[in-house]
C-alpha cells in the first residue's frame, strides 16, 4: 500500500486496485471483482460475467485494459506489471517522470483510483431520492452490503443520451403525483421530506442568496427570450402531510380515500400518496375518516400542514408542469415523447413518405428571473411507414444480409406505437419470435400477440411471420428493492418510425426541403409562440386549468438586456486583425501565412486511375496557393491505383507506408461518397499504421477554378493542422493555462459502449488528445482520470512545468447529472493532482449544453431577428443554483439563434463572470476547421470530433503516436 495515498472516502481503501500494476493483467482483476461487486467489473476483458452480450455481428469488444495500457505506454506511463507499488519500487515513467522525485513516482498508479461508489446512481435513480442527501460514506456501506453486482452507476454512462421521457402521459387529473420518478429530478427534497415526520410548525421557505454571475464587459443589447413570465395569483401553496391509520400501503387506495374528501380539500389537489399540495389553507390539522373497501375497516386520515410555500416554489414546479401538460391536451395537442404536436397541421412530404408535425416543447421552470414558461418550437418528423414496411424495403434491397442490415438501420430508432401514445427506442430485434408467440399479461395470463391486439385494440395483425422489436426500459426499482429489468416486445407492423431516415439525411436536396420546413426565422418562431399563447388564452378550459393553481401566463415573451462581448483579435504569423461583424475570417487566413506551418516534404497521393485528372489538378493548384499560406509543399509520391476497391486502397497504402518510413501524410482521392472506403482508410491510417491522412472526394475537386481554389485552400489548411501546424491564434491573458474539452459519443450499435473524447491544450493553440472506450456500467471518471494524468505529463514534457490553471469544458451532461459531475466526478479528477508533488492547480469546470430550448431574439428592431455573435446573457433565464450563462458565439445563417448554455460547476481559480464569458468566447474562435466562431469552445468540438471518429468510424482507439496532432479534423 502506498502510504501517501489518502483514501478520499472512508472504507474505500480495501478495494483499491493499483492501476499501474493491475491494468495489463487479468489475474488480479478477477479476484478484486469478487470483493468489489459494484465497481469495475465492466471494464475487464471478456470472460467477466458482467459483460453484456456482444451485439449481433458488430462492434468488436476490445478489452479496455489493453487499450488503456497502450495509451499509457505512449504518454510515458509504465504499464509493465509490477508486484508492488510504493517508494521502493523502480521508477515509474521512463522519460517523462524523470523530473519527478521518487516520493511521487508511485502515485500516478494509485491516484487513478478505480471503483469508487457512484453517488450519481442514486441521484438519478428512480425510487430512492431520499438517499441522495445521505453522505457518501453511508452510501458506500449500503452498496458494500449489496452483494450481487448491481449495475449502479449506469446512469452515469448514459450521459447525453436521450433522457427517458418524463412520464409524459400521466393520466391523472388534479395532479395525483403517482410516479415519483417524474418528480424527483426536480425536487429531490420531495420524497426525502416525506420520510421524516412532519414538522408541526408552519415554516416559511427562505429565499436563497443569488449567486454572483453577472458580467459587465461588452455593449448592452436588447433581447427577447423564449420565456413567458408566469404570474402567480395565489398567495401561497400549502403543503400537508397525510397519514393514514391504520396504515394503508396501496397508493391507489390512498388516492381514492383522499378523493372522497373533496368537500374538505377542494377539487384542486396534488397528492403523491404522502404529501398533499393545495392552493387553499386548511386548519393546522384536519382529521377525516374513510372506509377501506377491501375489508370495511375504518381508516382515519390526518392532514397536517407542514409548510406554506411561495407559489413559485421549486416544490410546486413538478405539478405545475403536469397542469401545463393538461393544458396542452385541452388544446388537442398530441404528446409524443416529451413534446406536444399538432398532427392536424401536418406538412406531408409524400416523396419521402414522411410527415412533419409542428409543435412545442414547453415546460415551467423557475430561473433567476422567477417563474417562467420556457417554450420552444419543435417539429416531429414521423414516417408514414411502419417498421414492417421499412423492413420489407430493406429486404427488397439486400436479401443476403437482411438481418444485419435491419439491425444496423433500426437499432436506436424511436418508434411510436399505433395503439397507444408511447414512444420506444428499438434496442434489439427478436428474430426468433413472431406475433404467434405469447407473453404473460399483468394478470398472469398467457396470451398471443395476435389475440392481445385483437382483443384490446380490435387490431388484426396482417403479417404473422414478422419478428418482434425489443425495447429495454431503464431498470426500475420495485418497492421491495429489486431491480426490475423488463423487456418490451413490439410489433413492427404496429410501430411507426420517427426521425429522418438515414437515406434522406444523405440526400442534400431532401434535407433542404426539410430544413425549409423546420428552421424558423426568429420572427416566425416568435409568431408561433404567440399563437400558442393566444390559443391558451382563448380556450376557456385551458386558462381555467392554469388558474386553478393561480397561474396566469403573460401575453408575450419576456424582454431583457443582454451584452455583446468585445470582438477578438486573431493572430496570424505576420499580422493580426480584429474580427468583423459576422465573425468569419476565411478571406484573411487564405491571404496570409498561417501562424505556424509544417513543411510537407514527404507525402503520398493515392488515386484511382480514372481520377488521374483530378489528382493532377489538385496538386497543381495546391502548389500555386501554398505560398501565400506560408506552407512549403513538395511533390507527392504519386500512387495510382488500378481500381477503386477498398482492398486495393488498403493494400497499396500499407505497402507504401511500409517501404517509405518518413511519410508525413497520406492523401487519398476517392470517387463517390463511400463510407466504407473512408472508414477503411481511416482505420488503417489512424490505428494500424499511424500517419495523418486526408481523404478527398473526387467530386469536390471538379468544377470551376474559383471553386477549386477555395476547396484546395481548405484542404491545405486542414493538412497543415493534421501535421501539427497552427492556423491562427488568439490572445488569452491567462498564463500557464491548460484548457480541456471532453465529450462522450454513444452508439447503440456499440452495445451501450461509449467513447470518451478528451482534448487538452499544451499551450494556447496546440492540443493533445486522448480517447477512452467506455464499457457499460463503467464510470466515466475512471477514463477521465487516466486522460488528465496523461495530459498533465505531456504538458510538463512540452512546457517543463505544470499548468497553474486548468479549465475544463465538459459536454454531454444533462441537468440531472450536474450534481453528479460536481460532487463526484470533479473530486475524482482532482485526485489526479496527487500524482505530482505539491501540485494543487486552480481548476474551473464548465458543463457545456448545446441541446437546450432557450432561444434569444434580437429586439433591437420592431421585427425580431438574430442577435449578433458574441451575445451573452447571464441573468433572467439562468439557473438559480449555479453560476451559468448563455453565449451565442456563432453567426446564425439560418433559423433561430441557438445559444449554448455554460454552467460553471467548479471555480477554484476564482474566475470572474467576465473572465469566464470572455475566455469561453475566445475559445469559440479556435476551431481550425472553420474560419469563424463556432457554437462551442474549440476543445469541446475537437473532443466531439475525436469521439465521433473513434466510435463511429474506427471502432477503436486511434494510435497514440498521433496524440499531438489534430489528425481527426
Amino acid at each position: 500500500m502506498d502510504p501517501l495515498w489518502r483514501p478520499p472516502i472512508p472504507g474505500a481503501a480495501p478495494y483499491r486496485v493499483p492501476l499501474g500494476a493491475s491494468l495489463p493483467r487479468a489475474e488480479p482483476c478477477s479476484s478484486c471483482t469478487k470483493s468489489q461487486p459494484w465497481g469495475r467489473a465492466g471494464r475487464w476483458p471478456p470472460g467477466e460475467p458482467r459483460l453484456p452480450p456482444a451485439p449481433r455481428g458488430r462492434s468488436r469488444q476490445e478489452p479496455l485494459a489493453s487499450d488503456l495500457s497502450s495509451m499509457f505506454r505512449g504518454i510515458g506511463f509504465e504499464t509493465v506489471p509490477r508486484p508492488t507499488l510504493g517508494r521502493a519500487t523502480q521508477p515509474l515513467g521512463r522519460g517523462v517522470l524523470s523530473w519527478a522525485t521518487s516520493g511521487m513516482e508511485a502515485k500516478p498508479g494509485t491516484s487513478v483510483q478505480p471503483g469508487l461508489p457512484a453517488p450519481e446512481a442514486m441521484a438519478a435513480g428512480d425510487n430512492n431520492a431520499g438517499r441522495t442527501s445521505v453522505a457518501c460514506g453511508m452510501v458506500f456501506a449500503q452498496k458494500e452490503a449489496a452483494a450481487p453486482p448491481v449495475p449502479f452507476g449506469r446512469a452515469a454512462l448514459v450521459l447525453g443520451r436521450a433522457k427517458p421521457k418524463a412520464s409524459g402521459d400521466l393520466p391523472f387529473l388534479n395532479a395525483n403525483i403517482s410516479r415519483p420518478s417524474a418528480l424527483q429530478p426536480a425536487s429531490p427534497m420531495f420524497t426525502h421530506r416525506a420520510e421524516i415526520p412532519p414538522a408541526i410548525s408552519v415554516e416559511q421557505v427562505e429565499r436563497k442568496d443569488p449567486v454572483v454571475k453577472k458580467g459587465s464587459k461588452g455593449t448592452a443589447f436588447p433581447l427577447a427570450l423564449n420565456l413567458i413570465k408566469i404570474h402567480c395569483q395565489n398567495e401561497a401553496v400549502y403543503q400537508y402531510h397525510v397519514t393514514f391509520s391504520p396504515n394503508v400501503e396501496c397508493k391507489s387506495m390512498r388516492f381514492g380515500m383522499l378523493k372522497e374528501h373533496r368537500s374538505v380539500t377542494g377539487d384542486v389537489t396534488a397528492f403523491d400518496g404522502l404529501i398533499l399540495y393545495l392552493p387553499i389553507r386548511l386548519p393546522q390539522t384536519s382529521d377525516l375518516k374513510s372506509q377501506r373497501k377491501t375489508d370495511g375497516v375504518e381508516i382515519s386520515i390526518r392532514i397536517q400542514m407542514t409548510k406554506i410555500l411561495e407559489p413559485s416554489s421549486d416544490l410546486c414546479i413538478p405539478f405545475y408542469n403536469i397542469v401545463f401538460r393538461r393544458v396542452m391536451k385541452i388544446l388537442e395537442m398530441k404528446l409524443v415523447g416529451r413534446n406536444f404536436y399538432d398532427p392536424t397541421s401536418a406538412t406531408v412530404l409524400p416523396q419521402y413518405r414522411l410527415q412533419i408535425w409542428p409543435g412545442y416543447s414547453a415546460s415551467i421552470r423557475r430561473t433567476d428571473g422567477g417563474l417562467f414558461l420556457l417554450a420552444d418550437v419543435s417539429h416531429k418528423v414521423i414516417r408514414n411507414d411502419s417498421v414492417l414496411d421499412v423492413m420489407q424495403a430493406i429486404y427488397q434491397q439486400s436479401r443476403e444480409n437482411f438481418q444485419d442490415e435491419c439491425t444496423k438501420q433500426l437499432l436506436g430508432n424511436i418508434v411510436i406505437t399505433r395503439y397507444n401514445n408511447r414512444t420506444y427506442r428499438i434496442d434489439d430485434i427478436e428474430w426468433s419470435k413472431t406475433p404467434k408467440d405469447s407473453f404473460t399479461t399483468s394478470d398472469g395470463k398467457e396470451i398471443t400477440f395476435i389475440d392481445y391486439y385483437s382483443k384490446n385494440y380490435g387490431i388484426a395483425i396482417r403479417d404473422l411471420g414478422q419478428p418482434l422489436l425489443i425495447h429495454r426500459p431503464k431498470e426500475k426499482q420495485s418497492p421491495d428493492g429489486k431491480l426490475l429489468r423488463g423487456e418490451i416486445l413490439l410489433l413492427p407492423e404496429l410501430s411507426f418510425m420517427t426521425g429522418i431516415p438515414e437515406k434522406m439525411r444523405k440526400d442534400f436536396r431532401a434535407m433542404k426541403d426539410l430544413t425549409y420546413q423546420i428552421h424558423l426565422s426568429p420572427k416566425q418562431h416568435h409568431t408561433s409562440l404567440s399563437a400558442l399563447l393566444q390559443r391558451i388564452k382563448q380556450n376557456e378550459a385551458a386558462s381555467e386549468e392554469l388558474l386553478r393553481w393561480g397561474l396566469r401566463l403573460d401575453t408575450d415573451v419576456s424582454r431583457t438586456q443582454g451584452r455583446v462581448l468585445p470582438m477578438e483579435r486573431i493572430n496570424l504569423r505576420n499580422s493580426s486583425f480584429v474580427t468583423s461583424g459576422d465573425l468569419i475570417w476565411t478571406k484573411e487566413i487564405t491571404r496570409e501565412p498561417s501562424l505556424s506551418t509544417v513543411p510537407l516534404h514527404y507525402w503520398a497521393l493515392f488515386y484511382p486511375k480514372r481520377a488521374l485528372d483530378q489528382a493532377r489538378e489538385l496538386v497543381s493548384i495546391m502548389e500555386r496557393i501554398c505560398g501565400p499560406l506560408g506552407m512549403k509543399l513538395n511533390q507527392p509520391a504519386w500512387v495510382e491505383l488500378k481500381d477503386d476497391r477498398i482492398d486495393t486502397y488498403a493494400r497499396t497504402i500499407k505497402s507504401v507506408l511500409g517501404s517509405e518510413g518518413k511519410l508525413q501524410l497520406v492523401v487519398c482521392i476517392i470517387t463517390g461518397t463511400r463510407d466504407d472506403l473512408y472508414g477503411a482508410i481511416k482505420k488503417l491510417c489512424c490505428v494500424q499504421c499511424p500517419v495523418p491522412s486526408q481523404v478527398v472526394n473526387a467530386r469536390t475537386v471538379t468544377g470551376q477554378p474559383s471553386k477549386l481554389r477555395s476547396v484546395a485552400q481548405k484542404i491545405l489548411l486542414q493538412m497543415n493542422c493534421k501535421l501539427g501546424g497552427e492556423l491562427w491564434g488568439i490572445d488569452i491573458p491567462l498564463k500557464q493555462l491548460m484548457v480541456i474539452g471532453m465529450d462522450v459519443y454513444h452508439d447503440p450499435n456499440l452495445g451501450m459502449r461509449s467513447v470518451v473524447g478528451f482534448v487538452a491544450s499544451t499551450n494556447h493553440t496546440i492540443y493533445l488528445w486522448l480517447v477512452v472506450f467506455q464499457m457499460p456500467h463503467q464510470e466515466i471518471a475512471d477514463g477521465l482520470k487516466l486522460c488528465l494524468v496523461g495530459a498533465l505529463q505531456k504538458f510538463h514534457e512540452v512546457n517543463h512545468c505544470l499548468p497553474e490553471k486548468i479549465v475544463v469544458y465538459r459536454d454531454g451532461v444533462s441537468d440531472s447529472q450536474l450534481k453528479m459531475v460536481a460532487n463526484y466526478e470533479i473530486p475524482q479528477l482532482q485526485m489526479c493532482f496527487q500524482a505530482f508533488t505539491n501540485y494543487q492547480p486552480k481548476m474551473v469546470v464548465f458543463v457545456v449544453q448545446k441541446k437546450i430550448s432557450a432561444n434569444f431574439y434580437s429586439a433591437s428592431s420592431e421585427d425580431f431577428g438574430c442577435p449578433p455573435p458574441g451575445t451573452v446573457i447571464d441573468h433572467t433565464v439562468t439557473s438559480r443554483e449555479w453560476v451559468d450563462f448563455y453565449l451565442l458565439a456563432h453567426h446564425v445563417r439560418q433559423g433561430c439563434s441557438l445559444p449554448t448554455h455554460y454552467i460553471c460547476v467548479l471555480n477554484t481559480a476564482n474566475l470572474s463572470p467576465d473572465h469566464m464569458q470572455r475566455l469561453t468566447f475566445k475559445l469559440c474562435h479556435m476551431y481550425w476547421n472553420w474560419s469563424g466562431t463556432i457554437r462551442v469552445p474549440a476543445p469541446c468540438k475537437y473532443a466531439h470530433k475525436l469521439a465521433f471518429l473513434s466510435g463511429q468510424v474506427l471502432h477503436h482507439e486511434p494510435a497514440i503516436q498521433l496524440c499531438d496532432k489534430l489528425f481527426f479534423l
Partner: protein
C-alpha cells in the same frame, strides 16, 4: 359507476371473479357490439370513460357518446378518447366522433336521439327516486334507441360478498333483488314497445344457485323499426346537456386525409416502378458492358431503354401516343408512369374508387406529364447515386 372498487371488493374474500366483474361487464357490451354492429353507441353514466375507451376500438362504431352527471370524473381521463398520433398516420376508413356530455339521465337532449345502442352499466342504482321515475321515459320514450342494456347489482347476492353491509357502495340509493329488477324492466319494456331479456354476470357459487348472478343485466330491443325521423320531433327539446369534450377522428372520408393517402400511395408506387426499371436497366447494362469497370461518363438511359423496350418502333409518332397510355416510358431525365397503370394497383384503386377521382386528388400534388396522363419521376437523383 364504482366498478373498480366494487370489483376489488368482490375479488377478496370467498368469492372471486376472474376477470374482475367490471371487466366482464365491459366485455359483455363489447361482445354485444361486435355481434350487432351498431353505428351509434351511447354510454349513460360513463364515469371515467373506460367503456367508451374500449368501444372506440370497435370498427363498426361511428358515433360514440358519453353522459355523466359528474363532470370531474369524466374529465379525469377523457383525453384517452382523443385520437392518437398513430391515427393521423394511417387514418381509418370509418369516421368516428366521440363526444362527452355533462348532464342528467332524467333530462332530455336531442343529442341523444337516433342511437343504435345505449348502455347503462351500474347506473340506475345511483339515481334518486325522482330521477329513476323519469328514467324510462327519457331513455325508452325519448332517446328510443334500437337497443338498451341496463345492469345493476343483485341484492340477493350481497350476503355472499364480504364487507357488504347495506349496499355495495355508499352512493347506491337502492339495490334490487331479481324480482324487483325484472318487474321494473318488464314494465318499462311494455310501456315503450320494447322486448326485454334477462341475463347476468358473476355466477353464484355452488349451493347458492338461486341467488342468481352477482350483476343482473337486462337487454331491451325496440319492437318498432327505426322510422328514420325521431318520433319526438314535434316537441323539440332544448339542449339540457353541456358538451365537455369532442374528438373527431381523422378518417379517409375527410378529403384532406384521403388526398394524403392517395398521393403517398401514388408516389410510392411510381417510385417502385421507376426503381425496378432502373435496376433492370442496370443489370442489362452490366451484362452488355462485359464487366468493364470503367463507368460511362454520361448516363444514356433513354436511348438505351428505347433500344431494349418491347416496342422497337417507339419513336414513331402515332404509336407513341398509344404506348403512353399503357406503358411506362422514359424521356429525358424522367420516367413516365401512366396514371392508368397506377390506378390498376389495388390499394390505389380502393382508395380512389374512380379514375377521375384519382386524377382530381393528385392534381397539383404529384408531378404529371403535360397532358396529365402520367406521373413523372425524375431520374436525376438516381443517376447521381449510380455515378
Amino acid at each position: 359507476m364504482v366498478d373498480a372498487n366494487l370489483a376489488k371488493g368482490e375479488c377478496t374474500g370467498t368469492i372471486k371473479f376472474t376477470p374482475p366483474l367490471y371487466k366482464q361487464r365491459y366485455q359483455f357490451i363489447k361482445d354485444l357490439v361486435n355481434k350487432y354492429k351498431p353505428k351509434k353507441v351511447a354510454d349513460l353514466g360513463c364515469a371515467d370513460c373506460s367503456l367508451l375507451w374500449m368501444l372506440k376500438f370497435c370498427k363498426c362504431i361511428e358515433v360514440l357518446a358519453g353522459l355523466d352527471i359528474c363532470e370531474n370524473v369524466m374529465k379525469e381521463k377523457m383525453h384517452r378518447l382523443s385520437p392518437l398520433p398513430g391515427d393521423y398516420l394511417q387514418p381509418s376508413e370509418r369516421t368516428l366522433t366521440v363526444t362527452l356530455y355533462h348532464g342528467s339521465v332524467a333530462q332530455k337532449d336531442p343529442c341523444m336521439l337516433g342511437f343504435d345502442l345505449i348502455t347503462c352499466i351500474e347506473l340506475i342504482e345511483h339515481l334518486e327516486a325522482t330521477e329513476l321515475e323519469k328514467f324510462p321515459e327519457v331513455v325508452f320514450g325519448f332517446m328510443a334507441p334500437a337497443m338498451v342494456v341496463i345492469s345493476t347489482p343483485n341484492s340477493e347476492f350481497n350476503p355472499l360478498l364480504p364487507g357488504v353491509t347495506l349496499f355495495r357502495h355508499p352512493d347506491h340509493k337502492f339495490e334490487w333483488d331479481q324480482a324487483q329488477f325484472q318487474s321494473w324492466a318488464l314494465d318499462a319494456a311494455g310501456c315503450y314497445d320494447y322486448t326485454v331479456e334477462f341475463t347476468g354476470l358473476g355466477a353464484p357459487p355452488p349451493g347458492a344457485e338461486d341467488v342468481g348472478f352477482c350483476t343482473q343485466i337486462s337487454v331491451f330491443r325496440r319492437k318498432y323499426p327505426n322510422t328514420g325521423e325521431p318520433i319526438n320531433l314535434e316537441k323539440p327539446t332544448e339542449n339540457s346537456y353541456r358538451t365537455i369534450f369532442k374528438a373527431v377522428y381523422p378518417s379517409l372520408k375527410d378529403e384532406k386525409y384521403l388526398q394524403n393517402a392517395v398521393v403517398s400511395e401514388v408516389i410510392n408506387t411510381a417510385q417502385i416502378i421507376t426503381r425496378r426499371l432502373l435496376d433492370s436497366f442496370n443489370s442489362v447494362y452490366k451484362e452488355h458492358s462485359n464487366g468493364l469497370v470503367e463507368m460511362k461518363p454520361d448516363f444514356q438511359l433513354p436511348r438505351y431503354f428505347m433500344r431494349h423496350s418491347k416496342n422497337p418502333s417507339l419513336a414513331e409518332g402515332e404509336k407513341l401516343a398509344d404506348d403512353r397510355n399503357m406503358e411506362t416510358y422514359v424521356s429525358g431525365n424522367a420516367v413516365y408512369i401512366p396514371l392508368i397503370k397506377i390506378f390498376s394497383i389495388p390499394k390505389v384503386n380502393k382508395l380512389c374508387g374512380t379514375f377521375e377521382n384519382l386524377s382530381k386528388l393528385i392534381t397539383g400534388k404529384v408531378a404529371l406529364s403535360n397532358d396529365g396522363s402520367a406521373v413523372v419521376i425524375s431520374t436525376e437523383h438516381e443517376e447521381k447515386e449510380n455515378e
